[in-house]
């Protein structure tokens, strides 16, 4: 990677602190310069590629920069959410595997993430904990599983980062068995209009620096994706959501709300 390329890739000073990438990153390099570079067809694809690259770059430091959120209660919420899983489980956006310690010996655990480097950390963590988990690189908006494959599907702090959350949520609904559980922990756009406006402003920064949006209306998106919400626990901007696949077709024509 030339200095010039590096400069183009890191236009934001602060991101340098999170974005240093060891030179042996063959996976990210392969993705950055594929044999036959696929044409980017839409802003959405481009957006998703940026997210992938960002998480590939940040993987080594992700758990460190996420630590303050953990101290502020995210860990407790994740533990509480995951205590509800049943049967065969899929976690989408498994990341560095921070949820792995909370799975209470479920029968069959599968985890996917768009970033290969995040998954490498999840693998190391699973080995450390002695947990069997099947890991795959995959895109939540295009899941490589048949319909009705899992009893429970879990995502924590994922749909703030996905370019097309409604399609992703509809895919989660598709692979979850009828009567199965969809367990989500997400932060959302504040309901208070002033705070909501501030979240819109903050998103301009968080999106660039960390790849997530502070103003996602995830509850609306869940319903737009055709899922049914059974229960929501609200704490500030955090939502612990238990949903299930809907009977009807998702209304995919809807645009994601809140950016």
């Amino acid at each position: 990677m030339t200095d010039k390329t590096r400069k183009r890739e890191f236009p934001y000073g602060w991101e340098l602190a999170f974005a240093w990438c060891p030179p042996d990153d063959t996976a990210a390099k392969a993705r950055a310069t594929p044999d036959a570079a696929p044409e980017t067809t839409s802003a959405e694809d481009d957006d998703q590629l940026q997210v992938t690259r960002r998480y590939d770059r940040m993987a080594w430091l992700y758990d460190v920069y996420d630590a303050p959120m953990e101290w502020l209660g995210t860990r407790r919420r994740r533990r509480r959410l995951i205590s509800q899983v049943e049967g065969d489980v899929l976690e989408v956006g498994v990341g560095t595997g921070k949820n792995l310690p909370f799975y209470p010996g479920c029968r069959h655990l599968t985890g996917i993430d768009i970033s290969e480097r995040m998954l490498a950390r999840a693998r190391a963590r699973a080995d450390r904990l002695g947990i069997t988990v099947h890991l795959q690189v995959a895109d939540v908006t295009d899941l490589p599983f048949a319909n009705n494959s899992f009893d429970t599907t879990v995502a924590t702090s994922l749909f703030c980062s996905v370019g097309d959350p409604i399609t992703g949520l509809a895919e989660v609904g598709r692979v979850t068995k009828p009567g199965g559980k969809i367990l989500l922990l997400e932060h959302v756009r504040p309901l208070n209009p002033l705070l909501g406006w501030l979240a819109d402003l903050a998103t301009a920064i968080t999106r660039r620096l960390f790849g997530f949006r502070a103003n996602r209306r995830t509850e609306d998106n869940i319903e737009a994706a055709g899922l049914r919400i059974d229960r929501v626990r609200r704490e500030g901007v955090w939502r612990e959501i238990e949903a299930r696949p809907g009977a009807g077709e998702p209304r995919l024509a809807n645009k994601p709300r809140g950016e």
């Binding site: 993705r31 599968t110 290969e116 693998r123 099947h134 690189v137 995959a138 895109d139 490589p144 494959s149």
Partner: protein, 56 residues
């Protein structure tokens, strides 16, 4: 050959929805319908259409 058989049975091609067959040298999953080959690196299948190539 290292992928879990039960998992493989519920997997499908993210491009066309076809079923997948595991092959070696190099380790990959090939779609029975559209013949796209998805690489398996360190026992981790890379199920991204952008990373798949038609199988030789």
């Amino acid at each position: 050959m290292g992928l879990d058989a039960e998992l493989l049975s519920i997997m499908q091609c993210p491009s066309c929805g076809g079923s997948l067959t595991e092959r070696t040298d190099p380790h990959r999953l090939v779609c029975d319908v559209c013949n796209l080959a998805y690489p398996v690196r360190d026992d981790v299948p890379v199920m991204l259409v952008d990373e798949a190539r038609p199988d030789a």
